[in-house]
Protein backbone atom coordinates (compact mmCIF):
# COMPACT_ATOMS: atom_id res chain seq x y z
CA UNK A 1 0.00 0.00 0.00
CA UNK A 2 1.38 3.35 -0.99
CA UNK A 3 0.77 6.83 0.31
CA UNK A 4 1.67 10.33 -0.76
CA UNK A 5 3.28 12.76 1.66
CA UNK A 6 3.19 16.43 0.79
CA UNK A 7 5.17 19.13 2.52
CA UNK A 8 4.19 22.69 1.72
CA UNK A 9 5.67 25.85 3.23
CA UNK A 10 8.80 27.97 3.49
CA UNK A 11 12.05 26.25 2.57
CA UNK A 12 14.53 25.66 5.41
CA UNK A 13 17.31 23.31 6.53
CA UNK A 14 16.30 19.84 7.69
CA UNK A 15 12.87 19.32 6.13
CA UNK A 16 13.76 16.05 4.41
CA UNK A 17 15.71 14.86 7.45
CA UNK A 18 12.81 15.63 9.77
CA UNK A 19 10.27 13.78 7.66
CA UNK A 20 12.47 10.83 6.75
CA UNK A 21 13.47 10.28 10.39
CA UNK A 22 9.83 9.77 11.34
CA UNK A 23 9.36 7.45 8.39
CA UNK A 24 12.44 5.38 9.29
CA UNK A 25 11.23 5.03 12.89
CA UNK A 26 7.93 3.66 11.65
CA UNK A 27 9.44 1.35 9.04
CA UNK A 28 8.04 3.26 6.07
CA UNK A 29 10.08 3.01 2.88
CA UNK A 30 10.54 6.06 0.66
CA UNK A 31 10.01 5.20 -3.02
CA UNK A 32 10.31 8.58 -4.65
CA UNK A 33 10.92 12.19 -3.74
CA UNK A 34 10.37 15.25 -5.85
CA UNK A 35 10.54 18.84 -4.82
CA UNK A 36 9.76 22.06 -6.49
CA UNK A 37 9.27 25.75 -5.75
CA UNK A 38 5.70 26.57 -6.69
CA UNK A 39 4.86 30.28 -6.61
CA UNK A 40 7.63 30.87 -4.03
CA UNK A 41 6.34 28.04 -1.89
CA UNK A 42 8.52 25.04 -1.19
CA UNK A 43 6.69 21.87 -2.11
CA UNK A 44 7.96 18.36 -1.54
CA UNK A 45 6.14 15.26 -2.63
CA UNK A 46 7.12 11.82 -1.36
CA UNK A 47 5.70 8.52 -2.49
CA UNK A 48 6.11 5.98 0.31
CA UNK A 49 5.32 2.34 0.94
CA UNK A 50 3.29 1.96 4.11
CA UNK A 51 2.53 -1.76 3.86
CA UNK A 52 5.09 -2.61 6.56
CA UNK A 53 4.42 0.45 8.70
CA UNK A 54 4.74 -0.38 12.39
CA UNK A 55 2.02 1.98 13.64
CA UNK A 56 -1.59 2.66 12.56
CA UNK A 57 -2.16 5.13 9.72
CA UNK A 58 -3.71 7.84 11.89
CA UNK A 59 -0.72 7.77 14.27
CA UNK A 60 1.78 8.39 11.51
CA UNK A 61 -0.51 11.06 10.15
CA UNK A 62 -0.51 12.75 13.59
CA UNK A 63 3.28 12.50 13.92
CA UNK A 64 3.85 14.12 10.55
CA UNK A 65 1.30 16.81 11.23
CA UNK A 66 2.88 17.78 14.54
CA UNK A 67 6.33 17.77 12.93
CA UNK A 68 4.87 20.20 10.40
CA UNK A 69 3.55 22.48 13.14
CA UNK A 70 6.99 22.37 14.80
CA UNK A 71 8.76 23.38 11.58
CA UNK A 72 6.13 25.87 10.38
CA UNK A 73 5.10 23.70 7.45
CA UNK A 74 2.03 21.82 6.35
CA UNK A 75 2.79 18.12 6.21
CA UNK A 76 0.10 15.71 5.10
CA UNK A 77 -0.05 12.01 4.33
CA UNK A 78 -2.80 10.66 2.08
CA UNK A 79 -3.55 7.28 0.62
CA UNK A 80 -2.32 7.15 -2.98
CA UNK A 81 -5.71 6.05 -4.34
CA UNK A 82 -7.19 9.51 -4.01
CA UNK A 83 -4.75 10.81 -6.63
CA UNK A 84 -4.96 7.72 -8.79
CA UNK A 85 -8.72 7.72 -8.88
CA UNK A 86 -8.85 11.36 -9.82
CA UNK A 87 -6.16 11.38 -12.48
CA UNK A 88 -6.02 7.86 -13.90
CA UNK A 89 -8.90 6.25 -15.74
Amino acid sequence: MRAVITVIGKDKVGIIAGVSNILAECNVNILDISQTILQDVFTMIMIVDISKCSIPFHDISDKLESKGVEMGLKIQIQHEDIFNSMHRI
Binding site: H58, I82, M86
Partner: protein
Protein backbone atom coordinates in the same frame (compact mmCIF):
# COMPACT_ATOMS: atom_id res chain seq x y z
CA UNK B 1 3.99 7.18 -11.12
CA UNK B 2 2.09 10.25 -9.99
CA UNK B 3 3.42 13.58 -11.14
CA UNK B 4 3.80 16.57 -8.83
CA UNK B 5 1.29 18.54 -10.86
CA UNK B 6 -1.41 15.95 -10.28
CA UNK B 7 -0.70 15.68 -6.57
CA UNK B 8 -0.69 19.43 -6.13
CA UNK B 9 -3.84 19.89 -8.19
CA UNK B 10 -5.75 17.52 -5.94
CA UNK B 11 -4.41 19.13 -2.79
CA UNK B 12 -5.22 22.60 -4.05
CA UNK B 13 -8.77 21.52 -4.88
CA UNK B 14 -9.27 20.24 -1.36
CA UNK B 15 -7.49 22.95 0.60
CA UNK B 16 -8.14 26.11 -1.36
CA UNK B 17 -11.22 25.38 -3.43
CA UNK B 18 -13.32 23.62 -0.79
CA UNK B 19 -13.61 20.28 -2.57
CA UNK B 20 -15.29 17.83 -0.25
CA UNK B 21 -17.66 14.93 -0.05
CA UNK B 22 -20.91 16.46 1.06
CA UNK B 23 -22.32 13.29 2.56
CA UNK B 24 -22.11 9.56 3.04
CA UNK B 25 -25.65 8.39 3.58
CA UNK B 26 -26.57 4.92 4.74
CA UNK B 27 -30.03 3.87 3.56
CA UNK B 28 -31.69 1.36 5.87
CA UNK B 29 -34.92 -0.47 5.18
CA UNK B 30 -37.31 -0.51 8.13
CA UNK B 31 -39.95 -2.61 6.43
CA UNK B 32 -39.41 -5.42 8.94
CA UNK B 33 -40.05 -3.09 11.87
CA UNK B 34 -43.84 -2.95 11.53
CA UNK B 35 -45.83 -3.98 14.60
CA UNK B 36 -49.30 -3.37 15.94
CA UNK B 37 -47.81 -2.09 19.20
CA UNK B 38 -46.18 1.28 18.61
CA UNK B 39 -43.61 0.86 21.39
CA UNK B 40 -42.42 -2.48 20.02
CA UNK B 41 -42.21 -1.01 16.53
CA UNK B 42 -40.18 1.96 17.80
CA UNK B 43 -37.82 -0.34 19.66
CA UNK B 44 -37.30 -2.44 16.55
CA UNK B 45 -36.51 0.71 14.59
CA UNK B 46 -34.02 1.95 17.18
CA UNK B 47 -32.31 -1.43 17.42
CA UNK B 48 -32.04 -1.89 13.68
CA UNK B 49 -30.64 1.56 12.96
CA UNK B 50 -28.10 1.44 15.78
CA UNK B 51 -26.97 -2.03 14.67
CA UNK B 52 -26.58 -1.22 10.98
CA UNK B 53 -25.10 2.25 11.39
CA UNK B 54 -22.94 1.48 14.40
CA UNK B 55 -19.68 1.96 12.47
CA UNK B 56 -20.88 4.50 9.90
CA UNK B 57 -19.43 7.61 11.53
CA UNK B 58 -16.09 6.09 12.51
CA UNK B 59 -15.68 4.57 9.04
CA UNK B 60 -16.41 7.95 7.48
CA UNK B 61 -13.86 9.60 9.75
CA UNK B 62 -11.21 7.00 8.93
CA UNK B 63 -11.71 7.46 5.20
CA UNK B 64 -11.55 11.21 5.67
CA UNK B 65 -8.26 10.83 7.49
CA UNK B 66 -6.60 8.35 5.19
CA UNK B 67 -7.47 10.05 1.93
CA UNK B 68 -7.27 13.58 3.24
CA UNK B 69 -10.67 14.48 1.82
CA UNK B 70 -13.20 16.15 4.12
CA UNK B 71 -16.50 14.31 4.47
CA UNK B 72 -18.90 16.86 5.85
CA UNK B 73 -21.91 14.77 6.79
CA UNK B 74 -22.64 11.21 7.78
CA UNK B 75 -26.34 10.57 7.51
CA UNK B 76 -29.01 7.91 7.54
CA UNK B 77 -32.11 7.59 5.42
CA UNK B 78 -34.89 5.14 6.22
CA UNK B 79 -38.03 3.69 4.67
CA UNK B 80 -40.78 6.34 4.64
CA UNK B 81 -42.16 6.06 8.16
CA UNK B 82 -45.77 6.27 6.96
CA UNK B 83 -45.29 2.79 5.46
CA UNK B 84 -43.74 1.34 8.59
CA UNK B 85 -46.11 2.99 11.04
CA UNK B 86 -49.33 2.17 9.28
CA UNK B 87 -49.85 -1.22 10.91
CA UNK B 88 -49.63 0.06 14.46
CA UNK B 89 -52.81 0.81 16.37
CA UNK B 90 -51.88 4.28 17.46
CA UNK B 91 -51.80 7.72 15.97
CA UNK B 92 -48.99 9.06 18.14
CA UNK B 93 -46.52 9.06 15.28
CA UNK B 94 -44.29 11.56 17.04
CA UNK B 95 -42.96 8.55 18.93
CA UNK B 96 -41.47 7.26 15.69
CA UNK B 97 -39.68 10.56 15.15
CA UNK B 98 -38.33 10.37 18.67
CA UNK B 99 -37.09 6.82 18.10
CA UNK B 100 -35.33 7.94 14.91
CA UNK B 101 -33.82 10.94 16.70
CA UNK B 102 -32.54 8.80 19.55
CA UNK B 103 -31.02 6.27 17.16
CA UNK B 104 -29.36 9.04 15.15
CA UNK B 105 -27.87 10.56 18.29
CA UNK B 106 -26.61 7.18 19.48
CA UNK B 107 -24.70 6.49 16.26
CA UNK B 108 -23.59 10.13 15.96
CA UNK B 109 -24.87 11.03 12.49
CA UNK B 110 -25.70 14.60 11.47
CA UNK B 111 -29.23 13.95 10.23
CA UNK B 112 -31.70 11.12 9.74
CA UNK B 113 -34.24 11.40 6.93
CA UNK B 114 -37.37 9.45 6.23
CA UNK B 115 -40.14 10.77 8.43
CA UNK B 116 -41.88 10.75 5.11
CA UNK B 117 -44.99 9.95 3.21
CA UNK B 118 -45.79 9.48 -0.49
CA UNK B 119 -49.25 10.79 -1.28
CA UNK B 120 -49.05 11.86 -4.93
CA UNK B 121 -52.20 9.94 -5.80
CA UNK B 122 -53.93 9.90 -2.45
CA UNK B 123 -53.76 9.29 1.28
CA UNK B 124 -53.92 6.15 3.36
CA UNK B 125 -54.77 6.32 7.05
CA UNK B 126 -51.07 6.12 7.90
CA UNK B 127 -50.20 8.95 5.51
CA UNK B 128 -52.82 11.17 7.13
CA UNK B 129 -51.54 10.48 10.61
CA UNK B 130 -47.93 11.00 9.63
CA UNK B 131 -48.50 14.31 7.90
CA UNK B 132 -50.55 15.58 10.83
CA UNK B 133 -47.75 14.72 13.22
CA UNK B 134 -44.96 16.43 11.22
CA UNK B 135 -45.00 19.82 13.01
CA UNK B 136 -44.77 18.27 16.44
CA UNK B 137 -42.28 15.63 15.31
CA UNK B 138 -39.90 18.18 13.80
CA UNK B 139 -40.15 20.61 16.67
CA UNK B 140 -39.56 17.95 19.33
CA UNK B 141 -36.59 16.27 17.64
CA UNK B 142 -33.21 17.57 16.58
CA UNK B 143 -31.93 15.39 13.77
CA UNK B 144 -35.07 14.09 12.08
CA UNK B 145 -35.91 15.30 8.58
CA UNK B 146 -39.22 14.89 6.87
CA UNK B 147 -40.51 14.90 3.31
CA UNK B 148 -43.85 14.48 1.60
CA UNK B 149 -44.25 13.66 -2.08
CA UNK B 150 -47.40 15.40 -3.30
CA UNK B 151 -47.14 14.96 -7.06
CA UNK B 152 -45.76 12.78 -9.82
CA UNK B 153 -45.77 12.86 -13.58
CA UNK B 154 -47.83 9.66 -13.68
CA UNK B 155 -50.37 10.62 -11.02
CA UNK B 156 -50.66 14.40 -11.29
CA UNK B 157 -50.78 16.73 -8.31
CA UNK B 158 -52.63 15.87 -5.12
CA UNK B 159 -54.01 19.32 -4.39
CA UNK B 160 -55.50 18.22 -1.06
CA UNK B 161 -51.99 17.36 0.06
CA UNK B 162 -50.65 20.61 -1.38
CA UNK B 163 -53.23 22.55 0.62
CA UNK B 164 -52.45 20.59 3.76
CA UNK B 165 -48.68 21.06 3.41
CA UNK B 166 -49.17 24.83 3.41
CA UNK B 167 -50.82 24.51 6.79
CA UNK B 168 -48.23 22.01 8.04
CA UNK B 169 -45.40 24.40 7.13
CA UNK B 170 -47.12 27.28 8.92
CA UNK B 171 -47.58 25.10 12.00
CA UNK B 172 -43.91 24.03 11.88
CA UNK B 173 -42.93 27.70 11.79
CA UNK B 174 -45.15 28.52 14.78
CA UNK B 175 -43.84 25.69 16.91
CA UNK B 176 -40.21 26.65 16.32
CA UNK B 177 -40.73 30.43 16.21
CA UNK B 178 -37.99 30.97 18.82
CA UNK B 179 -35.56 29.08 16.66
CA UNK B 180 -35.94 30.91 13.34
CA UNK B 181 -38.64 28.40 12.29
CA UNK B 182 -35.99 25.71 12.11
CA UNK B 183 -38.54 22.89 11.72
CA UNK B 184 -39.37 24.21 8.23
CA UNK B 185 -35.74 23.77 7.20
CA UNK B 186 -36.11 20.05 7.96
CA UNK B 187 -39.21 19.57 5.79
CA UNK B 188 -39.38 19.20 2.01
CA UNK B 189 -42.43 18.94 -0.22
CA UNK B 190 -41.60 16.98 -3.37
CA UNK B 191 -42.88 16.28 -6.82
CA UNK B 192 -41.38 13.15 -8.42
CA UNK B 193 -39.30 12.34 -5.32
CA UNK B 194 -36.42 9.91 -5.93
CA UNK B 195 -35.74 6.87 -3.78
CA UNK B 196 -31.96 7.11 -3.47
CA UNK B 197 -31.32 10.77 -2.79
CA UNK B 198 -28.58 11.24 -0.15
CA UNK B 199 -29.36 14.90 0.48
CA UNK B 200 -31.42 16.21 3.37
CA UNK B 201 -34.01 17.14 4.16
CA UNK B 202 -35.46 15.05 1.36
CA UNK B 203 -33.59 11.79 1.82
CA UNK B 204 -35.53 8.58 2.33
CA UNK B 205 -34.85 4.93 1.59
CA UNK B 206 -37.25 4.07 -1.23
CA UNK B 207 -39.21 0.85 -1.46
CA UNK B 208 -37.24 -0.36 -4.49
CA UNK B 209 -33.98 -0.14 -2.54
CA UNK B 210 -32.12 -3.05 -0.91
CA UNK B 211 -31.94 -3.81 2.81
CA UNK B 212 -29.03 -1.45 3.38
CA UNK B 213 -27.05 0.70 0.97
CA UNK B 214 -24.38 3.41 0.85
CA UNK B 215 -25.05 6.52 -1.24
CA UNK B 216 -22.61 9.36 -1.61
CA UNK B 217 -23.22 12.99 -2.52
CA UNK B 218 -20.35 15.09 -3.83
CA UNK B 219 -19.89 18.82 -3.56
CA UNK B 220 -17.34 21.17 -5.03
CA UNK B 221 -18.80 24.38 -6.49
CA UNK B 222 -15.57 26.15 -5.49
CA UNK B 223 -13.51 23.87 -7.72
CA UNK B 224 -15.74 24.54 -10.71
CA UNK B 225 -15.56 28.28 -10.12
CA UNK B 226 -11.75 28.18 -9.94
CA UNK B 227 -11.60 26.15 -13.15
CA UNK B 228 -13.78 28.72 -14.91
CA UNK B 229 -11.57 31.57 -13.68
CA UNK B 230 -8.83 30.07 -15.82
CA UNK B 231 -10.90 30.32 -19.03
CA UNK B 232 -12.14 33.86 -18.62
CA UNK B 233 -13.75 35.22 -21.79
CA UNK B 234 -13.69 31.88 -23.62
CA UNK B 235 -16.78 30.74 -25.53
CA UNK B 236 -19.49 28.48 -24.10
CA UNK B 237 -18.08 25.35 -25.72
CA UNK B 238 -14.94 25.86 -23.66
CA UNK B 239 -16.95 26.70 -20.54
CA UNK B 240 -18.96 23.50 -20.84
CA UNK B 241 -15.84 21.44 -21.54
CA UNK B 242 -14.07 22.91 -18.51
CA UNK B 243 -17.01 22.14 -16.22
CA UNK B 244 -17.25 18.59 -17.61
CA UNK B 245 -13.60 17.86 -16.89
CA UNK B 246 -13.83 19.28 -13.39
CA UNK B 247 -17.06 17.40 -12.65
CA UNK B 248 -15.36 14.22 -13.78
CA UNK B 249 -12.55 14.67 -11.26
CA UNK B 250 -14.91 15.61 -8.43
CA UNK B 251 -17.07 12.59 -9.10
CA UNK B 252 -14.11 10.21 -9.25
CA UNK B 253 -13.39 11.22 -5.71
CA UNK B 254 -16.99 10.55 -4.74
CA UNK B 255 -16.86 7.16 -6.41
CA UNK B 256 -13.68 6.25 -4.52
CA UNK B 257 -15.16 7.26 -1.18
CA UNK B 258 -18.42 5.45 -1.94
CA UNK B 259 -16.65 2.22 -2.87
CA UNK B 260 -14.34 2.39 0.09
CA UNK B 261 -17.18 3.07 2.55
CA UNK B 262 -19.22 0.27 1.04
CA UNK B 263 -16.29 -2.18 1.29
CA UNK B 264 -15.40 -1.28 4.86
CA UNK B 265 -18.98 -1.37 6.10
CA UNK B 266 -19.79 -4.44 4.06
CA UNK B 267 -22.86 -2.76 2.65
CA UNK B 268 -23.59 -2.55 -1.09
CA UNK B 269 -22.72 0.67 -2.91
CA UNK B 270 -25.82 2.38 -4.25
CA UNK B 271 -25.19 5.57 -6.17
CA UNK B 272 -23.08 8.68 -6.39
CA UNK B 273 -25.23 11.78 -6.60
CA UNK B 274 -23.53 14.10 -9.08
CA UNK B 275 -24.43 17.31 -7.39
CA UNK B 276 -22.82 20.65 -6.95
CA UNK B 277 -24.04 21.30 -3.44
CA UNK B 278 -23.03 24.66 -2.03
CA UNK B 279 -22.20 25.55 1.56
CA UNK B 280 -22.45 28.98 3.19
CA UNK B 281 -18.62 29.23 3.11
CA UNK B 282 -17.31 31.92 0.77
CA UNK B 283 -15.86 30.19 -2.28
CA UNK B 284 -18.27 27.27 -2.18
CA UNK B 285 -21.18 28.81 -4.01
CA UNK B 286 -23.17 27.85 -7.12
CA UNK B 287 -24.24 31.48 -7.55
CA UNK B 288 -20.60 32.54 -7.91
CA UNK B 289 -20.11 29.98 -10.71
CA UNK B 290 -22.99 31.58 -12.59
CA UNK B 291 -21.49 35.01 -11.98
CA UNK B 292 -18.10 33.76 -13.16
CA UNK B 293 -19.77 32.99 -16.49
CA UNK B 294 -20.30 36.73 -16.91
CA UNK B 295 -23.43 37.70 -15.01
CA UNK B 296 -23.05 40.77 -12.82
CA UNK B 297 -25.31 39.22 -10.17
CA UNK B 298 -26.97 35.84 -9.96
CA UNK B 299 -30.65 36.32 -10.77
CA UNK B 300 -30.21 38.77 -13.62
CA UNK B 301 -31.27 37.95 -17.18
CA UNK B 302 -29.23 35.03 -18.50
CA UNK B 303 -29.09 33.23 -15.16
CA UNK B 304 -31.41 30.43 -16.25
CA UNK B 305 -29.34 29.77 -19.37
CA UNK B 306 -26.12 29.76 -17.36
CA UNK B 307 -27.62 27.33 -14.85
CA UNK B 308 -28.89 25.04 -17.61
CA UNK B 309 -25.39 24.85 -19.08
CA UNK B 310 -23.84 24.21 -15.69
CA UNK B 311 -26.31 21.51 -14.74
CA UNK B 312 -25.93 19.66 -18.01
CA UNK B 313 -22.13 19.83 -18.04
CA UNK B 314 -21.93 18.52 -14.46
CA UNK B 315 -23.98 15.48 -15.46
CA UNK B 316 -22.03 14.87 -18.65
CA UNK B 317 -18.72 15.02 -16.83
CA UNK B 318 -19.81 13.05 -13.82
CA UNK B 319 -21.66 10.20 -15.43
CA UNK B 320 -18.55 8.51 -16.80
CA UNK B 321 -16.70 8.90 -13.53
CA UNK B 322 -19.05 6.74 -11.52
CA UNK B 323 -20.38 3.24 -12.07
CA UNK B 324 -23.84 4.10 -10.71
CA UNK B 325 -25.28 7.54 -10.76
CA UNK B 326 -28.58 8.54 -9.21
CA UNK B 327 -30.24 10.72 -6.64
CA UNK B 328 -30.98 14.25 -7.69
CA UNK B 329 -27.79 14.84 -9.68
CA UNK B 330 -27.41 18.45 -10.73
CA UNK B 331 -26.73 21.87 -9.29
CA UNK B 332 -28.48 22.72 -6.05
CA UNK B 333 -29.69 26.27 -5.58
CA UNK B 334 -30.66 26.66 -1.92
CA UNK B 335 -30.73 30.32 -1.03
CA UNK B 336 -29.66 30.37 2.62
CA UNK B 337 -26.91 27.78 2.12
CA UNK B 338 -25.07 29.62 -0.65
CA UNK B 339 -23.09 32.80 0.04
CA UNK B 340 -23.61 34.05 -3.53
CA UNK B 341 -27.36 33.41 -3.46
CA UNK B 342 -27.71 35.20 -0.11
CA UNK B 343 -25.82 38.11 -1.58
CA UNK B 344 -27.91 38.15 -4.75
CA UNK B 345 -31.17 38.00 -2.78
CA UNK B 346 -30.06 40.81 -0.45
CA UNK B 347 -29.18 43.04 -3.38
CA UNK B 348 -32.56 42.43 -5.00
CA UNK B 349 -31.14 40.72 -8.09
CA UNK B 350 -32.60 37.37 -7.15
CA UNK B 351 -36.34 37.06 -6.68
CA UNK B 352 -38.70 34.19 -5.99
CA UNK B 353 -39.98 34.33 -9.57
CA UNK B 354 -36.47 33.99 -11.01
CA UNK B 355 -35.69 31.12 -8.67
CA UNK B 356 -38.82 29.37 -9.86
CA UNK B 357 -37.69 29.78 -13.45
CA UNK B 358 -34.25 28.46 -12.54
CA UNK B 359 -35.75 25.31 -11.05
CA UNK B 360 -36.98 24.34 -14.52
CA UNK B 361 -33.41 23.57 -15.54
CA UNK B 362 -31.74 22.22 -12.41
CA UNK B 363 -32.31 19.82 -9.58
CA UNK B 364 -34.51 20.29 -6.57
CA UNK B 365 -36.40 23.54 -6.60
CA UNK B 366 -37.29 26.38 -4.29
CA UNK B 367 -34.89 25.44 -1.55
CA UNK B 368 -34.24 27.14 1.80
CA UNK B 369 -36.23 30.22 0.98
CA UNK B 370 -37.29 32.49 3.81
CA UNK B 371 -40.54 34.41 3.31
CA UNK B 372 -42.36 36.87 5.61
CA UNK B 373 -43.97 35.35 8.69
CA UNK B 374 -47.41 36.60 7.74
CA UNK B 375 -47.42 34.68 4.43
CA UNK B 376 -50.66 32.69 4.41
CA UNK B 377 -50.84 28.91 4.31
CA UNK B 378 -52.70 29.19 0.99
CA UNK B 379 -49.93 31.26 -0.57
CA UNK B 380 -47.35 28.68 0.55
CA UNK B 381 -49.54 25.94 -0.92
CA UNK B 382 -49.80 27.87 -4.16
CA UNK B 383 -45.99 28.16 -4.32
CA UNK B 384 -45.80 24.40 -3.77
CA UNK B 385 -48.40 23.83 -6.50
CA UNK B 386 -46.43 25.93 -9.01
CA UNK B 387 -43.24 24.07 -8.26
CA UNK B 388 -44.99 20.68 -8.40
CA UNK B 389 -46.45 21.62 -11.79
CA UNK B 390 -42.96 22.34 -13.12
CA UNK B 391 -41.79 18.94 -11.93
CA UNK B 392 -44.81 17.04 -13.17
CA UNK B 393 -44.93 18.58 -16.62
CA UNK B 394 -41.18 18.40 -17.19
CA UNK B 395 -40.80 14.87 -15.76
CA UNK B 396 -38.25 15.95 -13.21
CA UNK B 397 -37.91 16.20 -9.47
CA UNK B 398 -38.82 19.50 -7.90
CA UNK B 399 -39.21 20.43 -4.29
CA UNK B 400 -40.12 23.24 -1.97
CA UNK B 401 -38.39 23.95 1.31
CA UNK B 402 -39.80 27.25 2.43
CA UNK B 403 -39.61 29.02 5.76
CA UNK B 404 -42.32 31.53 6.76
CA UNK B 405 -40.26 33.01 9.60
CA UNK B 406 -42.61 34.28 12.34
CA UNK B 407 -42.41 38.01 12.93
CA UNK B 408 -39.97 38.60 10.07
CA UNK B 409 -40.48 41.03 7.20
CA UNK B 410 -38.90 41.52 3.80
CA UNK B 411 -35.36 42.75 4.34
CA UNK B 412 -34.87 40.91 7.65
CA UNK B 413 -32.46 38.01 7.93
CA UNK B 414 -32.86 34.66 9.66
CA UNK B 415 -29.82 32.78 11.01
CA UNK B 416 -29.96 28.99 11.02
CA UNK B 417 -26.30 28.30 11.67
CA UNK B 418 -24.08 25.53 10.34
CA UNK B 419 -24.69 24.23 6.84
CA UNK B 420 -28.19 25.73 6.79
CA UNK B 421 -26.67 29.22 6.71
CA UNK B 422 -28.71 32.39 6.93
CA UNK B 423 -31.56 33.53 4.75
CA UNK B 424 -32.74 36.99 3.73
CA UNK B 425 -36.55 37.24 3.86
CA UNK B 426 -37.80 37.33 0.27
CA UNK B 427 -40.87 39.03 -1.12
CA UNK B 428 -43.91 36.96 -2.07
CA UNK B 429 -46.75 38.04 -4.33
CA UNK B 430 -49.31 39.78 -2.08
CA UNK B 431 -52.40 38.69 -4.05
CA UNK B 432 -54.44 35.78 -2.72
CA UNK B 433 -54.49 32.24 -4.13
CA UNK B 434 -56.82 30.85 -1.49
CA UNK B 435 -59.83 30.16 -3.70
CA UNK B 436 -57.58 28.23 -6.05
CA UNK B 437 -56.05 26.17 -3.26
CA UNK B 438 -59.36 25.55 -1.48
CA UNK B 439 -60.78 23.69 -4.48
CA UNK B 440 -58.87 20.53 -3.47
CA UNK B 441 -58.93 17.31 -5.48
CA UNK B 442 -56.24 16.24 -7.89
CA UNK B 443 -54.78 17.95 -10.94
CA UNK B 444 -54.67 15.15 -13.53
CA UNK B 445 -51.38 13.86 -14.90
CA UNK B 446 -50.20 15.71 -17.99
CA UNK B 447 -50.12 14.10 -21.37
CA UNK B 448 -46.80 13.57 -22.97
CA UNK B 449 -47.59 12.43 -26.47
CA UNK B 450 -47.82 15.96 -27.83
CA UNK B 451 -44.73 17.13 -26.00
CA UNK B 452 -44.12 20.81 -26.32
Amino acid sequence: MLGPFEVLETIEMIQKENLDIRTITMGISLRDCCHSDIDISCKKIYDKITKYAEKLVVTGENIEREYGIPIINKRISVTPIALVAESCESDEYVKFAEALDKAAQTVGVNFIGGFSSLVHKGYTVGDKRLIQSIPEALSRTKLVCSSVNVASTKAGINMDAVAEMGRVIKKCAELTADNGALACAKLVVFANAVEDNPFMAGAFHGIGEPECVINVGVSGPGVVKCALEKVKGADFGTVSETIKKTAFKITRMGQLVAQEASRRLNVPFGIVDLSLAPTPAIGDSVAYILEEMGLEKCGTHGTTAALALLNDAVKKGGVMASSYVGGLSGAFIPVSEDAGMINAALSGALTLEKLEAMTCVCSVGLDMIVVPGDTSAETISAIIADEAAIGVVNTKTTAVRIIPAPGKKVGDKVEFGGLLGSGPVMKVNPFSSSEFINRGGRIPAPMHSLKN
